[in-house]
């Protein structure tokens, strides 16, 4: 019982998973050892959730082998996972707590559904057990709290409830998926204390997070997942820019000379004292006409908050903005559009696509009041606008009547971008415009954005991919935990410096 292999509570060998032709995990081998915290890191779409779902029995159809305490197992269902001692606290709290039941019932829910509990139920029967479970985390909840409806608890307490429930099952391995996303600073400290206690009790912990600082505090070792493969495995101490590099991929820039830089002179939009996260410091940011500004940061850095705030989709709670010298305080996207401030949102399917709509109609939607001042939509002008977008952005489509949902992802994105370009933007923000978009579409869109800036627009692109930003932008702002860590023109910085900045621990 002395080699590290012996200590592995759960080990994966060559685990793979595909949905149709889409391989989301391939050849993943890793183990989580007794009494240690193993961190799992990866960008969106790296395969983290798939891995978690395999471990918790949601995807029994995976390839490869899983061993628990050295013996091979098949995790066919969530209940098998639990009986093997693998317990998962999912990121979405709402998936775990059962509304309408009391706190106590939620705490003992696993026991409640066992035949041994008996057929009859009373709160008196539940309370002592619930007290027991709550005490595992020193939650200190009174009987009055235990009798309340679970939804009266704050989100953080709900999170702790789920954790307590998992702990009550005496897990051999605990999977924590982004456990701090809903917690305040003090609650995070409390959670970390609990995790350290669990380590001492010999529980193996798989800790999934994109917060490098948390991993720095907690983890004994880490693995980095990218595009379904393990790219890096390290024990403490961690070298953060190596980690970020592994997360983001390190294909070298094709041609350094490809970088062209245009500096804008005139400030188009000025943000003063804007707070991107509730816990972060207020920021002052300028966007200039004539340049493409890239905002780079890891997940949760505040990029989307910035984009949506400028667009009025989620107005800033603090701070002010000045657009072309005049105060600008959009309360809705409509306000922003009237001011010539446009946004390509982060999630194309949910926030930009109109299923069953033609290209022409999708393109004209934001500008209908200009195009049809008296109500009747001019079909000729609408079709021309659709064809303009198709030509301008090289959309592969049969014509302006092509349904947008039948286009490929890259072409959908060209339509979404082109729709706004047809409206002559003053400030054009694109939130992760290249995610899930092929290289060709990315280059084409990038070129158009540069041309747009050259005509005098202030273009802002957010991304978590260094190369996207390096290839498409004149200026780079590195955002981390809601704070601008650096703001430089592209010739003044290097890829390494950017990664360095991104990897800083708050």
């Amino acid at each position: 019982m002395d080699g590290p292999a012996q200590q592995a509570v759960v080990s994966l060998t060559d685990v793979s998973m595909a949905f149709g032709t889409n391989r989301v995990l391939s050849g993943v081998s890793m183990s989580v050892r007794k009494g240690t915290v193993q961190a799992l890191i990866g960008a969106n779409g790296a395969g983290k959730s798939t891995l978690i779902k395999i471990l918790s029995g949601v995807y029994p159809q995976h390839g490869g082998e899983i061993h628990v305490d050295g013996s091979p197992v098949r995790i066919d269902s969530p209940s098998v996972a639990r009986s093997l001692g693998i317990h998962t606290v999912h990121q979405r709290i709402a998936d775990g707590v059962i509304p309408g039941l009391s706190v106590a019932e939620n705490l003992v829910f696993d026991a409640l559904s066992q035949p041994s509990f008996g057929s009859f139920f009373s709160i008196a029967k539940v309370l002592p057990r619930a007290r027991d479970v709550a005490s595992r985390l020193d939650l200190g909840w009174s009987d009055a709290v235990l009798r309340r409806d679970v939804f009266e608890l704050g989100i953080a307490d709900q999170q702790l409830l789920l954790l307590a429930r998992a702990l009550d099952q005496q897990p051999r391995m605990l999977v924590l998926d982004e456990p701090t996303s809903a917690l305040s600073m003090a609650e995070v400290d409390r959670l970390f204390a609990v995790i350290r206690g669990l380590k001492e009790d010999g529980v193996a912990i798989l800790y999934v997070s994109h917060h490098l600082s948390e991993i720095d505090t907690l983890a004994d070792s880490l693995v980095v997942l990218r595009d379904g493969k393990i790219r890096l495995e390290r024990d403490r101490p961690f070298v953060w820019n190596e980690v970020v590099r592994a997360m983001l991929g390190d294909q070298v820039l094709a041609e350094e000379e490809a970088i062209t830089e245009h500096r804008g002179t005139e400030v188009r939009l000025r943000l003063s004292g804007v707070r991107l996260h509730a816990r972060s410091a207020p920021q002052d940011i300028e966007f200039r006409a004539g340049e493409v500004a890239g905002i780079i940061g890891l997940l949760g850095a505040g990029k989307t908050e910035l984009a949506r705030g400028v667009y009025g989709a989620t107005p800033f709670t603090e701070g002010s903005m000045v657009l072309d010298g005049a105060p600008y305080a959009p309360r809705s996207p409509g306000d922003a559009v009237r001011h010539g401030v446009f946004l390509v949102p982060e999630d194309r399917a949910a926030e930009a696509m109109l299923p069953g709509w033609t290209i022409a109609r999708s393109v004209s939607l934001p500008f209908l009041s200009q195009m049809a001042p008296r109500g009747l939509v001019p079909r000729g002008a609408e079709a021309r606008r659709g064809r303009w977008v198709i030509d301008e952005l090289d959309v592969v489509a049969s014509g302006d009547g092509h349904m947008v949902d039948e286009l490929s992802g890259g072409n959908q994105q060209r339509v979404v971008v082109g729709r706004w370009m047809a409206g002559k933007p003053g400030v054009f923000i694109l939130d992760e415009p290249f995610r899930g978009v092929d290289i060709g579409a990315r280059a084409g869109i990038s070129r158009k954005l540069r041309a747009l800036a050259a005509e005098g627009a202030a273009v802002v692109i957010t991304s978590s991919d260094v190369d996207e930003i390096l290839q498409g932008c004149d200026r780079i702002l590195v955002l981390g935990d809601g704070v601008v860590r650096s703001d430089t023109y592209i010739r003044e910085t290097t890829r390494d410096q950017i990664i360095e900045r991104m990897s800083e621990i708050a």
Partner: protein, 347 residues
């Protein structure tokens, strides 16, 4: 439709898919034509011009109510208060003329105002208080039905009825108001004319104007519509106000048809309106709530009910037929069509 059958020879698309496509596109139209031809050949009475006009008159109320439901469905909701509003319109028009002794125009005005107010109440609950469409309009339906009874202490309103103060109602349904149902413009009955005008107006509004376009956008993806810079709340409210107004118009025709403030009027309108709006979705394989489809669905229902009545089928059996036809239309939309039907459940 005519040339289509002739060009079926191309072997590229499997025949089954083509047949399916044809059924999805023309199924409802085919059923309507079949019913029409069947009743025309089987029942002598059905062939009389008056019967055919009465089919359209019957269809007019349901079609206009159905267009109200359609408008709510376009924004991804539903309006269950249609029947209640139409029923209230009957009572309000009767009260205005019979109890308050006003002319028909005043009654029409009062009814339209009431319809718009119901629409605003729905909009307030749905947009401001964020209650799901189906639940909000269901509650409003109860309130409206109850209010109607409160207005008249649960009594049907008719000329000469005793009033609480001991006198008798002196007013009556004025001839110009009754003309809403029994009048003619040339050879065309007024309600049929109203049906045609409203169908055409709603068709143009929904498909050719920017307002209609935005309503469809909300139904397709409300968040994308908001992020396109559109005030989604305002347009959803507009949809419910239009729906309330159309219900009021349906109630006006109903009122003129009955000629008194019957408190049970409008009771069956809701289900018929929802049914024709759903049938209408499958017309031409659009799989979207649309004006032509809804009116055609109402005409189909009119042909069916009139034909079955003439054939002596009792009214309770007619409901079975209605239900089966609705199921068939829904199969066209939801099962056979490859286009995903855009009916967003409100709950």
């Amino acid at each position: 439709m005519e040339a289509r059958e002739g060009t079926e020879a191309a072997p590229t698309v499997p025949t089954m898919d083509r047949v399916r496509e044809l059924i999805v596109r023309y199924g409802v139209i085919a059923i309507t034509l079949f019913l029409l031809i069947f009743f025309l050949s089987a029942e002598e009475t059905f062939r009389r011009p008056t019967t055919l006009l009465s089919v359209l008159k019957y269809a007019s109320v349901i079609a206009i109510g159905g267009l109200g439901v359609t408008t709510a469905m376009v924004v991804g909701g539903i309006d269950l208060s249609i029947g209640g509003t139409a029923g209230m319109a009957v009572t309000i028009s009767a009260m205005t003329m019979v109890i308050y002794d006003q002319v028909g125009v005043v009654a029409i005005g009062a009814v339209l105002v009431a319809g718009a107010l119901v629409g605003l109440a729905n909009a307030f609950l749905i947009v401001k208080l964020r209650i799901p469409d189906m639940l909000a309009t269901l509650s409003v339906m109860f309130v409206v039905q109850g209010l109607k009874l409160v207005f008249v202490s649960g009594q049907s309103v008719s000329s000469g009825m005793p009033l609480p103060n001991g006198s008798f109602a002196v007013g009556r349904f004025t001839p110009e108001f009754l003309a809403i149902d029994n009048g003619f413009v040339g050879p065309i009955p007024v309600p049929v004319l109203i049906l045609i005008v409203i169908t055409l107006a709603m068709f143009i509004f929904l498909t050719r104007t920017r307002w209609g376009r935005i309503l469809y956008a909300i139904g397709a993806n409300p968040e994308a519509t908001r992020l396109a810079g559109i005030n989604v709340s305002r347009y959803r409210a507009l949809a419910y106000v239009i729906s309330g107004l159309l219900a009021a118009v349906a109630g006006l025709i109903l009122s003129a048809r009955i000629g008194q403030g019957d408190i049970s009027a409008g009771n069956s309108l809701l289900l018929d309106s929802v049914a024709v709006a759903l049938v209408g979705m499958s017309v031409m394989g659009l799989n979207l709530p649309n004006a032509w489809g809804t009116s055609l669905g109402a005409v189909m229902l009119g042909i069916m009910i009139t034909g079955l009545t003439i054939a002596g089928v009792p009214y309770y059996a007619q409901d079975v037929v209605k239900g089966v036809v609705l199921v068939v239309a829904l199969i066209f939309s939801f099962t056979l069509s490859r286009k995903k039907a855009r009916y967003v459940s409100a709950v």
